[in-house]
Amino acid sequence: MAEKNESIPPGPVLWEETMPGGMQWSGIVRRGVSLRLTALSPGANVSALFYNHEDRVERYNMADTLKAQHTVFLTKGHVCYSDMGRVLCSITADTAGWNDAVCGASDDALIHNKYGIKRFQENRNAMFRSAREGFLKELAKWGLGKRDVTANINFFSKVTAEEAGRLVFHGNHAAAGDFVDLRFEMNALIVLSTSVHPLDTRPTYEPQAVKLTAWRSGVAPAQDLCRNLCPENVRGFANTERYFAT
Protein backbone atom coordinates (compact mmCIF):
# COMPACT_ATOMS: atom_id res chain seq x y z
CA MET A 1 0.00 0.00 0.00
CA ALA A 2 1.26 3.42 -0.93
CA GLU A 3 0.05 4.83 2.37
CA LYS A 4 2.43 2.59 4.30
CA ASN A 5 5.43 4.42 2.86
CA GLU A 6 4.34 7.78 4.18
CA SER A 7 6.49 7.51 7.27
CA ILE A 8 6.80 11.29 7.54
CA PRO A 9 3.61 12.90 8.92
CA PRO A 10 2.00 15.59 6.77
CA GLY A 11 2.80 18.49 9.09
CA PRO A 12 5.52 19.98 11.31
CA VAL A 13 6.58 17.39 13.90
CA LEU A 14 6.19 18.61 17.49
CA TRP A 15 7.84 15.68 19.21
CA GLU A 16 8.71 12.03 18.75
CA GLU A 17 9.31 9.23 21.21
CA THR A 18 9.80 5.45 20.97
CA MET A 19 8.09 3.22 23.53
CA PRO A 20 9.89 -0.11 24.05
CA GLY A 21 7.62 -3.17 24.09
CA GLY A 22 5.78 -3.75 27.36
CA MET A 23 6.14 -0.17 28.62
CA GLN A 24 3.57 2.46 29.50
CA TRP A 25 3.26 6.15 28.66
CA SER A 26 0.88 9.00 29.36
CA GLY A 27 0.66 12.59 28.20
CA ILE A 28 -1.51 15.42 26.96
CA VAL A 29 -2.24 15.88 23.28
CA ARG A 30 -4.11 19.08 22.44
CA ARG A 31 -7.03 19.70 20.12
CA GLY A 32 -5.66 20.15 16.61
CA VAL A 33 -2.62 17.92 17.16
CA SER A 34 -2.34 14.45 15.62
CA LEU A 35 -0.52 11.47 17.08
CA ARG A 36 0.87 8.73 14.87
CA LEU A 37 1.48 5.28 16.37
CA THR A 38 3.99 3.37 14.21
CA ALA A 39 4.59 -0.37 14.70
CA LEU A 40 8.34 -0.96 14.60
CA SER A 41 8.06 -4.75 14.25
CA PRO A 42 5.36 -7.36 13.52
CA GLY A 43 2.87 -8.20 16.25
CA ALA A 44 2.88 -4.80 17.96
CA ASN A 45 -0.05 -3.86 20.21
CA VAL A 46 -0.91 -0.54 21.86
CA SER A 47 -3.56 -0.66 24.58
CA ALA A 48 -5.00 2.85 24.91
CA LEU A 49 -7.32 4.94 27.09
CA PHE A 50 -8.40 8.56 26.42
CA TYR A 51 -9.77 11.22 28.81
CA ASN A 52 -10.90 14.82 28.39
CA HIS A 53 -7.93 16.63 29.94
CA GLU A 54 -10.17 19.44 31.23
CA ASP A 55 -12.60 17.07 32.98
CA ARG A 56 -11.24 13.57 33.32
CA VAL A 57 -14.57 12.12 34.41
CA GLU A 58 -15.35 12.44 30.70
CA ARG A 59 -13.55 9.58 28.98
CA TYR A 60 -13.44 7.25 25.98
CA ASN A 61 -16.54 5.08 25.93
CA MET A 62 -16.36 1.78 24.11
CA ALA A 63 -20.09 1.21 23.75
CA ASP A 64 -20.93 4.73 22.59
CA THR A 65 -18.09 4.54 20.04
CA LEU A 66 -19.17 1.18 18.63
CA LYS A 67 -22.92 1.69 18.51
CA ALA A 68 -22.76 5.18 16.97
CA GLN A 69 -20.71 3.77 14.10
CA HIS A 70 -22.29 0.31 13.95
CA THR A 71 -18.95 -1.44 14.25
CA VAL A 72 -17.17 -3.79 16.65
CA PHE A 73 -13.67 -2.66 15.58
CA LEU A 74 -12.04 0.68 14.73
CA THR A 75 -10.21 1.80 11.61
CA LYS A 76 -9.69 4.81 9.33
CA GLY A 77 -12.84 6.94 9.21
CA HIS A 78 -14.01 6.03 12.70
CA VAL A 79 -13.86 8.37 15.69
CA CYS A 80 -13.43 7.68 19.41
CA TYR A 81 -16.40 9.02 21.39
CA SER A 82 -16.40 10.17 24.99
CA ASP A 83 -19.30 9.23 27.25
CA MET A 84 -20.60 12.81 26.77
CA GLY A 85 -21.38 12.48 23.06
CA ARG A 86 -18.23 14.26 21.91
CA VAL A 87 -15.37 13.21 19.64
CA LEU A 88 -12.09 12.82 21.54
CA CYS A 89 -10.13 11.85 18.43
CA SER A 90 -10.55 10.76 14.83
CA ILE A 91 -8.73 7.88 13.16
CA THR A 92 -7.44 9.57 10.00
CA ALA A 93 -5.15 6.76 8.84
CA ASP A 94 -4.82 3.05 9.60
CA THR A 95 -2.58 1.04 7.31
CA ALA A 96 -3.25 -2.35 8.96
CA GLY A 97 -7.05 -1.89 8.86
CA TRP A 98 -8.35 -3.23 12.19
CA ASN A 99 -8.00 -2.16 15.82
CA ASP A 100 -9.62 -4.26 18.54
CA ALA A 101 -12.06 -2.48 20.87
CA VAL A 102 -13.62 -5.26 22.93
CA CYS A 103 -10.95 -7.54 24.44
CA GLY A 104 -9.58 -5.32 27.19
CA ALA A 105 -6.04 -5.19 28.52
CA SER A 106 -3.61 -7.83 29.75
CA ASP A 107 -3.32 -7.99 33.54
CA ASP A 108 -0.62 -9.44 35.79
CA ALA A 109 -2.46 -12.73 36.38
CA LEU A 110 -2.80 -13.30 32.64
CA ILE A 111 0.89 -12.50 32.01
CA HIS A 112 2.02 -14.76 34.88
CA ASN A 113 -0.22 -17.66 33.87
CA LYS A 114 0.62 -17.48 30.17
CA TYR A 115 4.30 -16.56 30.17
CA GLY A 116 5.60 -17.01 33.71
CA ILE A 117 7.08 -14.40 36.00
CA LYS A 118 10.07 -12.26 35.15
CA ARG A 119 10.58 -9.69 37.85
CA PHE A 120 12.86 -6.70 37.96
CA GLN A 121 15.41 -8.13 40.39
CA GLU A 122 16.68 -10.74 37.93
CA ASN A 123 15.68 -9.14 34.64
CA ARG A 124 15.97 -5.40 35.15
CA ASN A 125 13.92 -3.63 32.47
CA ALA A 126 13.32 -6.85 30.54
CA MET A 127 10.80 -7.70 33.28
CA PHE A 128 7.31 -8.81 32.21
CA ARG A 129 4.70 -6.06 32.40
CA SER A 130 0.94 -6.10 31.93
CA ALA A 131 -1.09 -3.34 30.28
CA ARG A 132 -3.40 -2.95 33.30
CA GLU A 133 -0.53 -2.32 35.72
CA GLY A 134 0.97 0.11 33.19
CA PHE A 135 -2.37 1.95 33.00
CA LEU A 136 -2.59 2.16 36.79
CA LYS A 137 0.97 3.53 37.11
CA GLU A 138 0.33 6.26 34.56
CA LEU A 139 -3.17 7.10 35.82
CA ALA A 140 -1.78 7.59 39.34
CA LYS A 141 0.41 10.41 37.98
CA TRP A 142 -2.75 12.34 37.09
CA GLY A 143 -4.62 11.62 40.32
CA LEU A 144 -6.59 8.79 38.73
CA GLY A 145 -6.86 5.12 39.60
CA LYS A 146 -8.73 1.86 39.28
CA ARG A 147 -12.13 3.58 38.99
CA ASP A 148 -10.88 5.25 35.81
CA VAL A 149 -9.80 2.15 33.89
CA THR A 150 -12.52 1.52 31.34
CA ALA A 151 -12.76 -0.67 28.24
CA ASN A 152 -9.68 0.19 26.17
CA ILE A 153 -8.69 0.07 22.51
CA ASN A 154 -5.96 -2.29 21.30
CA PHE A 155 -4.36 -0.60 18.30
CA PHE A 156 -2.72 -2.89 15.70
CA SER A 157 -4.56 -5.98 17.02
CA LYS A 158 -7.26 -7.86 15.11
CA VAL A 159 -9.85 -10.08 16.77
CA THR A 160 -12.93 -11.21 14.84
CA ALA A 161 -16.08 -12.98 16.00
CA GLU A 162 -17.54 -16.11 14.44
CA GLU A 163 -21.28 -16.65 14.13
CA ALA A 164 -21.85 -17.70 17.75
CA GLY A 165 -19.66 -14.88 19.07
CA ARG A 166 -16.52 -17.02 19.42
CA LEU A 167 -13.42 -14.81 19.15
CA VAL A 168 -10.48 -15.45 16.81
CA PHE A 169 -7.16 -13.64 17.33
CA HIS A 170 -5.26 -12.83 14.12
CA GLY A 171 -1.55 -12.99 14.94
CA ASN A 172 0.97 -10.47 13.61
CA HIS A 173 -1.83 -8.35 12.17
CA ALA A 174 0.38 -5.26 11.96
CA ALA A 175 3.66 -5.38 10.04
CA ALA A 176 6.74 -3.23 10.68
CA GLY A 177 5.94 0.27 9.43
CA ASP A 178 2.18 0.05 9.83
CA PHE A 179 0.75 3.14 11.47
CA VAL A 180 -2.42 4.58 12.94
CA ASP A 181 -3.06 8.35 12.97
CA LEU A 182 -5.21 9.87 15.73
CA ARG A 183 -6.30 13.46 15.18
CA PHE A 184 -7.33 14.94 18.51
CA GLU A 185 -10.53 16.98 18.44
CA MET A 186 -10.36 17.65 22.20
CA ASN A 187 -7.54 18.28 24.68
CA ALA A 188 -6.90 14.73 25.78
CA LEU A 189 -5.03 12.81 28.43
CA ILE A 190 -3.73 9.69 26.71
CA VAL A 191 -2.62 6.55 28.54
CA LEU A 192 -0.82 3.86 26.52
CA SER A 193 0.76 0.46 27.09
CA THR A 194 2.77 -1.57 24.59
CA SER A 195 2.25 -4.83 26.48
CA VAL A 196 0.84 -7.74 24.50
CA HIS A 197 -2.80 -8.15 23.49
CA PRO A 198 -4.64 -10.32 26.06
CA LEU A 199 -5.54 -12.93 23.42
CA ASP A 200 -2.07 -12.97 21.77
CA THR A 201 -1.34 -16.56 20.72
CA ARG A 202 2.46 -16.42 20.69
CA PRO A 203 3.84 -18.88 23.27
CA THR A 204 6.33 -16.38 24.67
CA TYR A 205 6.02 -12.82 25.95
CA GLU A 206 7.11 -10.69 22.99
CA PRO A 207 5.86 -7.12 23.31
CA GLN A 208 7.00 -4.87 20.48
CA ALA A 209 8.25 -1.29 20.32
CA VAL A 210 6.05 1.49 18.94
CA LYS A 211 7.01 5.01 17.85
CA LEU A 212 4.87 8.02 18.77
CA THR A 213 4.99 11.08 16.52
CA ALA A 214 2.98 14.24 17.21
CA TRP A 215 2.37 16.96 14.67
CA ARG A 216 0.18 20.00 14.21
CA SER A 217 -2.64 18.91 11.92
CA GLY A 218 -5.59 21.12 12.84
CA VAL A 219 -9.00 19.68 13.69
CA ALA A 220 -11.47 18.04 11.30
CA PRO A 221 -12.27 20.25 8.27
CA ALA A 222 -15.81 20.46 6.87
CA GLN A 223 -15.02 17.92 4.18
CA ASP A 224 -13.57 15.14 6.28
CA LEU A 225 -13.89 11.38 6.06
CA CYS A 226 -14.39 10.90 9.81
CA ARG A 227 -16.85 13.77 10.24
CA ASN A 228 -18.98 12.60 7.32
CA LEU A 229 -18.68 8.83 7.78
CA CYS A 230 -22.25 8.65 9.09
CA PRO A 231 -24.93 11.09 10.34
CA GLU A 232 -24.01 10.12 13.90
CA ASN A 233 -20.49 11.50 13.43
CA VAL A 234 -21.82 14.78 11.97
CA ARG A 235 -23.76 15.21 15.23
CA GLY A 236 -20.79 14.10 17.37
CA PHE A 237 -18.66 16.84 15.80
CA ALA A 238 -21.49 19.35 16.32
CA ASN A 239 -21.47 18.48 20.04
CA THR A 240 -17.67 18.80 20.15
CA GLU A 241 -17.68 22.19 18.42
CA ARG A 242 -20.38 23.43 20.78
CA TYR A 243 -18.12 22.49 23.73
CA PHE A 244 -15.30 24.66 22.33
CA ALA A 245 -17.56 27.53 21.18
CA THR A 246 -16.34 30.91 22.44
Binding site: V57, N61, M62, A63, D64, L66, K67, A68, H70, T71, V72, F73, Y81, D83, M84, G85, R86, W98, V102, C103, G104, A105, D107, A109, L110, G145, K146, R147, D148, V149, T150, A151, N152, T160, A161, E162, E163, A164, G165, R166, L167, P198, L199, E232, R235, G236, A238, N239
Partner: protein, 218 residues
Amino acid sequence: MQTLTTSKLDPKNAVLDQICPAGEPWSHPIQRGQVFRILDLEGNQAVDTLFYSADDPEERYSAVDTIRRQANLYLGTGTQLISTEGNLMLTIIADTCGRHDTLGGACATESNTVRYALEKRFMHACRDNFASELTHHHEYGLSKRDITSNINFFMNVPVTAAGKLTFEDGISAPGKYVEMRAEMDVICVISNCPQLNNPCNAYNPTPIRLLIWNASDE
Protein backbone atom coordinates in the same frame (compact mmCIF):
# COMPACT_ATOMS: atom_id res chain seq x y z
CA MET B 1 -26.41 -22.64 19.16
CA GLN B 2 -27.72 -21.16 22.41
CA THR B 3 -28.12 -23.25 25.51
CA LEU B 4 -31.43 -22.73 27.26
CA THR B 5 -31.51 -23.81 30.89
CA THR B 6 -34.38 -23.58 33.32
CA SER B 7 -34.33 -23.18 37.09
CA LYS B 8 -36.06 -25.23 39.78
CA LEU B 9 -36.23 -22.32 42.21
CA ASP B 10 -39.72 -21.46 43.45
CA PRO B 11 -40.61 -17.75 43.69
CA LYS B 12 -42.55 -18.58 46.88
CA ASN B 13 -39.22 -19.20 48.64
CA ALA B 14 -37.51 -16.02 47.39
CA VAL B 15 -36.24 -13.60 50.06
CA LEU B 16 -36.78 -10.70 47.65
CA ASP B 17 -39.45 -10.45 44.98
CA GLN B 18 -39.91 -6.97 43.49
CA ILE B 19 -41.17 -5.34 40.35
CA CYS B 20 -39.07 -2.60 38.75
CA PRO B 21 -41.36 -0.47 36.56
CA ALA B 22 -40.37 0.47 33.02
CA GLY B 23 -37.66 3.13 32.86
CA GLU B 24 -36.74 3.10 36.55
CA PRO B 25 -33.49 2.40 38.39
CA TRP B 26 -33.09 -0.32 41.03
CA SER B 27 -30.22 -1.44 43.23
CA HIS B 28 -29.72 -4.04 45.91
CA PRO B 29 -26.91 -5.99 47.59
CA ILE B 30 -26.62 -9.68 46.70
CA GLN B 31 -24.67 -11.91 49.08
CA ARG B 32 -22.23 -14.60 48.07
CA GLY B 33 -24.18 -17.80 47.44
CA GLN B 34 -27.49 -16.06 46.81
CA VAL B 35 -29.20 -16.57 43.47
CA PHE B 36 -30.48 -13.55 41.55
CA ARG B 37 -33.12 -13.80 38.82
CA ILE B 38 -34.17 -11.09 36.36
CA LEU B 39 -37.47 -11.89 34.69
CA ASP B 40 -38.65 -10.18 31.50
CA LEU B 41 -42.35 -9.81 32.28
CA GLU B 42 -43.66 -8.63 28.94
CA GLY B 43 -40.80 -9.50 26.58
CA ASN B 44 -37.98 -7.73 24.73
CA GLN B 45 -37.06 -5.48 27.65
CA ALA B 46 -33.40 -4.42 27.94
CA VAL B 47 -32.09 -4.54 31.51
CA ASP B 48 -28.91 -2.47 31.87
CA THR B 49 -26.96 -3.95 34.76
CA LEU B 50 -23.78 -3.12 36.69
CA PHE B 51 -22.15 -5.08 39.53
CA TYR B 52 -19.70 -3.78 42.14
CA SER B 53 -17.87 -5.74 44.84
CA ALA B 54 -19.60 -4.89 48.13
CA ASP B 55 -16.28 -5.07 50.01
CA ASP B 56 -14.35 -2.86 47.60
CA PRO B 57 -16.51 -1.12 44.98
CA GLU B 58 -13.35 -0.13 43.06
CA GLU B 59 -13.58 -3.74 41.93
CA ARG B 60 -16.48 -3.97 39.49
CA TYR B 61 -17.93 -5.92 36.59
CA SER B 62 -15.69 -5.74 33.52
CA ALA B 63 -17.30 -6.34 30.14
CA VAL B 64 -13.95 -6.71 28.37
CA ASP B 65 -12.48 -9.12 30.94
CA THR B 66 -15.65 -11.21 30.77
CA ILE B 67 -15.43 -11.31 26.96
CA ARG B 68 -11.72 -12.02 26.95
CA ARG B 69 -11.91 -14.78 29.59
CA GLN B 70 -14.56 -16.77 27.71
CA ALA B 71 -13.26 -15.67 24.26
CA ASN B 72 -16.86 -14.98 23.28
CA LEU B 73 -18.88 -11.79 22.79
CA TYR B 74 -22.22 -13.03 24.13
CA LEU B 75 -23.39 -13.93 27.62
CA GLY B 76 -25.46 -17.02 28.44
CA THR B 77 -25.64 -20.10 30.64
CA GLY B 78 -22.22 -20.83 32.11
CA THR B 79 -20.84 -17.35 31.52
CA GLN B 80 -18.64 -16.22 34.37
CA LEU B 81 -18.99 -12.51 35.04
CA ILE B 82 -15.44 -11.30 35.69
CA SER B 83 -14.34 -8.25 37.68
CA THR B 84 -11.74 -5.63 36.82
CA GLU B 85 -9.42 -7.52 39.21
CA GLY B 86 -9.92 -10.75 37.24
CA ASN B 87 -12.10 -12.32 39.96
CA LEU B 88 -15.32 -14.26 39.46
CA MET B 89 -18.28 -12.11 40.56
CA LEU B 90 -21.31 -14.13 39.44
CA THR B 91 -22.03 -17.20 37.29
CA ILE B 92 -25.05 -17.41 34.98
CA ILE B 93 -26.72 -20.69 36.01
CA ALA B 94 -30.06 -20.52 34.21
CA ASP B 95 -31.20 -18.70 31.08
CA THR B 96 -34.36 -19.19 29.08
CA CYS B 97 -33.54 -16.35 26.64
CA GLY B 98 -30.28 -17.64 25.14
CA ARG B 99 -28.13 -14.60 24.59
CA HIS B 100 -27.36 -11.36 26.39
CA ASP B 101 -25.25 -8.35 25.35
CA THR B 102 -22.34 -6.59 27.01
CA LEU B 103 -21.10 -4.41 24.11
CA GLY B 104 -24.06 -2.06 23.62
CA GLY B 105 -23.58 -0.07 26.81
CA ALA B 106 -26.27 2.10 28.34
CA CYS B 107 -28.24 4.84 26.64
CA ALA B 108 -27.51 8.41 27.73
CA THR B 109 -28.98 11.79 26.89
CA GLU B 110 -25.64 12.69 25.28
CA SER B 111 -25.28 9.52 23.23
CA ASN B 112 -28.91 9.88 22.13
CA THR B 113 -27.98 13.24 20.55
CA VAL B 114 -25.31 11.45 18.52
CA ARG B 115 -27.29 8.36 17.62
CA TYR B 116 -30.67 9.87 16.76
CA ALA B 117 -30.86 13.67 16.63
CA LEU B 118 -29.52 16.65 18.59
CA GLU B 119 -33.09 17.30 19.86
CA LYS B 120 -33.25 13.81 21.44
CA ARG B 121 -31.32 15.12 24.46
CA PHE B 122 -34.52 15.58 26.43
CA MET B 123 -35.55 11.99 26.88
CA HIS B 124 -35.19 9.75 29.92
CA ALA B 125 -32.05 7.58 29.68
CA CYS B 126 -30.22 4.75 31.45
CA ARG B 127 -27.12 6.67 32.48
CA ASP B 128 -29.31 9.30 34.15
CA ASN B 129 -30.86 6.41 36.06
CA PHE B 130 -27.44 5.08 37.04
CA ALA B 131 -26.23 8.54 38.09
CA SER B 132 -29.37 9.15 40.12
CA GLU B 133 -29.31 5.76 41.83
CA LEU B 134 -25.62 6.14 42.77
CA THR B 135 -26.17 9.72 43.98
CA HIS B 136 -29.06 8.65 46.25
CA HIS B 137 -27.04 5.77 47.73
CA HIS B 138 -24.13 7.48 49.47
CA GLU B 139 -23.34 4.19 51.17
CA TYR B 140 -22.10 2.73 47.89
CA GLY B 141 -19.43 5.44 47.57
CA LEU B 142 -19.98 5.53 43.80
CA SER B 143 -20.60 8.29 41.25
CA LYS B 144 -20.66 9.01 37.52
CA ARG B 145 -16.95 8.09 37.39
CA ASP B 146 -17.95 4.52 38.25
CA ILE B 147 -20.52 4.03 35.50
CA THR B 148 -18.66 1.54 33.37
CA SER B 149 -19.50 -0.86 30.55
CA ASN B 150 -22.62 -2.74 31.61
CA ILE B 151 -24.54 -5.90 30.74
CA ASN B 152 -27.76 -5.62 28.75
CA PHE B 153 -29.79 -8.62 29.76
CA PHE B 154 -32.29 -9.75 27.09
CA MET B 155 -30.77 -7.42 24.49
CA ASN B 156 -29.74 -8.69 21.06
CA VAL B 157 -26.65 -7.00 19.55
CA PRO B 158 -25.30 -9.35 16.89
CA VAL B 159 -21.79 -8.86 15.47
CA THR B 160 -20.83 -10.15 12.02
CA ALA B 161 -17.48 -11.71 11.04
CA ALA B 162 -16.79 -8.50 9.07
CA GLY B 163 -17.19 -6.54 12.30
CA LYS B 164 -20.59 -4.93 11.81
CA LEU B 165 -22.59 -4.35 14.99
CA THR B 166 -26.34 -3.79 14.98
CA PHE B 167 -29.20 -3.49 17.46
CA GLU B 168 -31.80 -6.05 16.48
CA ASP B 169 -35.24 -7.00 17.68
CA GLY B 170 -35.01 -8.84 20.95
CA ILE B 171 -34.95 -12.61 21.12
CA SER B 172 -36.63 -12.49 24.51
CA ALA B 173 -40.34 -13.01 25.22
CA PRO B 174 -42.78 -12.66 28.12
CA GLY B 175 -41.66 -14.78 31.08
CA LYS B 176 -38.06 -15.35 29.91
CA TYR B 177 -35.49 -15.07 32.67
CA VAL B 178 -31.81 -15.19 33.46
CA GLU B 179 -30.48 -16.38 36.78
CA MET B 180 -27.03 -16.00 38.32
CA ARG B 181 -25.30 -17.12 41.48
CA ALA B 182 -23.23 -14.51 43.33
CA GLU B 183 -19.68 -15.77 43.90
CA MET B 184 -18.81 -12.73 46.05
CA ASP B 185 -20.87 -10.13 47.90
CA VAL B 186 -21.96 -7.63 45.25
CA ILE B 187 -24.07 -4.54 44.78
CA CYS B 188 -26.30 -4.77 41.73
CA VAL B 189 -27.36 -1.53 40.03
CA ILE B 190 -29.98 -1.69 37.26
CA SER B 191 -31.59 0.72 34.86
CA ASN B 192 -34.72 -0.81 33.37
CA CYS B 193 -34.02 0.80 30.01
CA PRO B 194 -36.34 3.66 28.91
CA GLN B 195 -35.02 3.82 25.32
CA LEU B 196 -37.78 4.68 22.85
CA ASN B 197 -35.62 5.20 19.77
CA ASN B 198 -34.44 1.71 18.86
CA PRO B 199 -35.76 -1.86 18.80
CA CYS B 200 -33.88 -3.01 21.91
CA ASN B 201 -37.16 -2.69 23.84
CA ALA B 202 -39.43 -3.17 20.86
CA TYR B 203 -40.03 0.61 21.26
CA ASN B 204 -42.10 -0.22 24.33
CA PRO B 205 -40.25 -0.32 27.69
CA THR B 206 -41.97 -2.66 30.16
CA PRO B 207 -41.54 -3.73 33.82
CA ILE B 208 -39.25 -6.49 35.05
CA ARG B 209 -39.39 -8.76 38.11
CA LEU B 210 -36.35 -9.21 40.35
CA LEU B 211 -35.96 -12.15 42.74
CA ILE B 212 -33.29 -13.27 45.19
CA TRP B 213 -33.02 -16.67 46.91
CA ASN B 214 -30.78 -17.63 49.77
CA ALA B 215 -28.07 -20.19 49.14
CA SER B 216 -29.79 -22.84 51.26
CA ASP B 217 -32.87 -22.82 49.03
CA GLU B 218 -30.95 -23.67 45.87
